[in-house]
């Protein structure tokens, strides 16, 4: 074995720990410091290969009608087609809260963050999963892990589900709380 092997071994282990620490730390920071929004959602119940049971959350803002797309004529001209949204495009959605309402809803979206930042109080970042008249957008907050074998039971109870998510300045989202009939649900 070469003399530097031990050092490299230790470095690789530290790097692996750093990856985990970064994943956890980034998310903890976001949960602590992010801007909260409450989103209306509808759950379904598949099963994750690696993570036990979880409920999949679809939000009101998961389907975005193309009429909400903000795009100036120059961009459309350059890209050669109207509404040039394709699968895997990153989009930024401006959220609005109507007077007296509890849930935030999508008011406009664009591939260019400058189109919505500053114009809306909250901006969430998503990735287009399916382009079309109603774009299907994923925000990375579609899974909520629950105790094993409880996913289906919880889903049956979920007639009125909402989520409190937090947003980073660049629109990244994380789930902070899950509500059923406006009551926070905790699984431990």
């Amino acid at each position: 074995m070469k003399p530097w092997t031990k050092t490299i071994f230790v470095i690789v282990v530290i790097l692996q720990m750093a990856v985990l620490a970064l994943m956890a730390g980034k998310r903890m920071h976001l949960l602590e410091n992010g801007t909260p929004v409450t989103l209306k959602c509808v759950p379904v119940d598949p099963r994750s290969l690696f993570s036990g049971d979880y409920v999949v959350l679809n939000y009101d803002i998961s389907r975005l009608p193309m009429k909400l797309l903000v795009q100036d004529d120059a961009v459309q001209l350059l890209e050669g087609r109207k509404g040039s949204i394709a699968k895997n495009d990153r989009v930024y959605i401006g959220l609005e809260l109507k007077a007296g309402a509890r849930f935030w809803h999508a008011a406009a979206f664009s591939k260019n963050p400058a189109d919505v930042k500053g114009k809306f109080e909250r901006v969430i970042r998503g990735t287009v999963e399916q382009a079309g008249p109603n774009c299907l957008v994923r925000y990375g907050i579609e899974s909520y892990f629950v105790p094993q074998f409880q996913g289906l039971a919880i889903e049956k109870e979920m007639k009125d589900v909402s989520v409190e998510a937090v947003l980073s300045p660049d629109g990244e989202a994380a789930i902070r709380k899950l509500f059923i009939r406006d009551k926070e649900v905790e699984f431990y």
Partner: protein
Amino acid sequence: MDKADEKAYGNSMMGKGALQKIVNRETARWVEAGIIDSAQREKILSIYADEEAGKKKLTMSLPAIIIGLAAVLLCAGIILFYAANWRKMPPSIKLAQVFLLILAAYGGAYYCLFLRPANRFFLGRIFLLVGMVSYGAGIMLVAQIFHISSHPTNGILAWALGSLAISAVTREKWGYYLSFALFAVWNTWEHSVYNNPNYIFILVPAVLAVLFYREKAVTGTALSLLGVLYWFYQVNVHWISLAGYDVDGYCGALLALAHVPLGVVLIMAGNILREHPVVRIPARMALVIGWVFTAVPFLFLSWPIKFKEFWFPFLPGTAFHSIQLIALILCGTAAVAVMKRRGHEAVLPGASVAFAAVMMLLPLGNVTALMVATHLGLLAFTGAMLYRAYRDPGVFIQERALAVIFFLLFLAMKGFGFFALGLSEGRFFAAYSLGFVIFTVVFFLISLTAETLVGKNGNTFPSGLLNGACALAGFFIIYALSFKMRPQTSIFEASTSVLVVLFMFLAIALGLYGLLLKISRDRLPVILSAVIFFMSVTVLLISGPSLSWMVYSAIFNILLFAMTGTLIYYSTRINSKTLLNLAVAGFVLHVMTRYFDLFWDLLSGSLLFIITGIVGIAGGCLLEKNRRKLSRIIEEGREVNP
């Protein structure tokens, strides 16, 4: 004694300890008998003593087994404890434990591998693998704790990279396999869910091939080869999907052609490395896959496909596949040059690359050009494969098997193809079916030619299998033709491409007949096949709406009898009981079919069966008597002329 022999020996005979006792006893007797002297006996015994000592070195100690079992129990207990209590723990405690688990596993690995490697190396490897798995589990658990679901493939990638890095540092072979599996999951997920062509995946098999090679991991190097090929298809499929419906056919055709030079590159690698101690298995795999690749255009392009455009390369949307084909042709040419320089047979690989290059330049949108080029290539390739595989007695066994498989595959594929085309275009049923009879005769002649040329060097050739397959194919297609059929259209009303290919086959058949009559010592099979060939051609040329189905039926029934008669006669000439039995079975099938055709409507059900039973018993006895007589002749012929 290599591993396979050792295993077989151990399984079939006795353990090494028992063998040593026998050797000990027998050598003492040999010394007494004066066969060997004492010094020689000592030398013989020392060989077996060394093997026993080596075996003992590999034996695992009892404490190690106990430690292993204890570790399993400990792990099971920990898992059960966490399963029961995990949900009750706050995230910070969960995280701390994940980190602790990883650190403990890697710490154990460090201690055993670096500080006490002499007697704890095996345990260290186990700790290392536990560490890798813990790291992956840690990624998944962090995602679960914080409900992270955006782009889950990133987690798999991070796990794969971590496992690869730690495995590379410690040269842990099983870690390489783990990371390879993880990279494969990551890649497949990226490609199938996110439509990511994942060009960089090529780095995975490339890097792992080197690492596996360093550890002399034969299976790993073979997996790396498969990884590269998987990537090739993944990228190509992605570009075909980008091309869109209008041009994906052209891209597919260019991809089919690209298989040929790529196959030649694989053949080159396989030939050069086939005796290499580490990569001999992937090399042999490359050789087999390479030959299969060279046959791809014949499998996929030798059909009357109608394209809108004449020339394919660099049509809008085909740039990737065009450039790829050109690049691979250049690589294939270089591979041929390398093979030639190293003294490997390079004529057929060279011709294959040339074929791909010519095909690229041909107007393949013209059906006639496509059909003529691919069928000429198919016939030349089949004949050349057979000839080169059986010419040299030392040729790789898999190449011989492939030559036979290609022959049978092309015959079956074209048989089904012609038959299906005939059924779909019922008015050309006779034409397509007879076309296949002519194709079969040409294949038979190719087999005979290869056999004659190979036989000149005194080498054996699987003529029984190949000729039997041709006879079987011919029999069944003529049998299908012997039934009532709807009015047929003259072959001269068929498309130009069909006529051109038909006359090309006739010309090739005549050429091969001329050649075989000149070079073959046994002209009988040539002449017998010529009878069937010329009868088929005649019927094909005269077929048309003016002929009643009864005329066709009469002709094909005569042809069928002529064929079975020919085969029975020929079986006695070559002393083949198998061929005789097959021919008799065909004859019985034919007679039975015609019998029921004729009498089904004429006689009542019971009467038909009674008469059939009587005729069947009488006919069967007569037939069996004659079959036995012929079998005896064949056996006697074998005894006289073994």
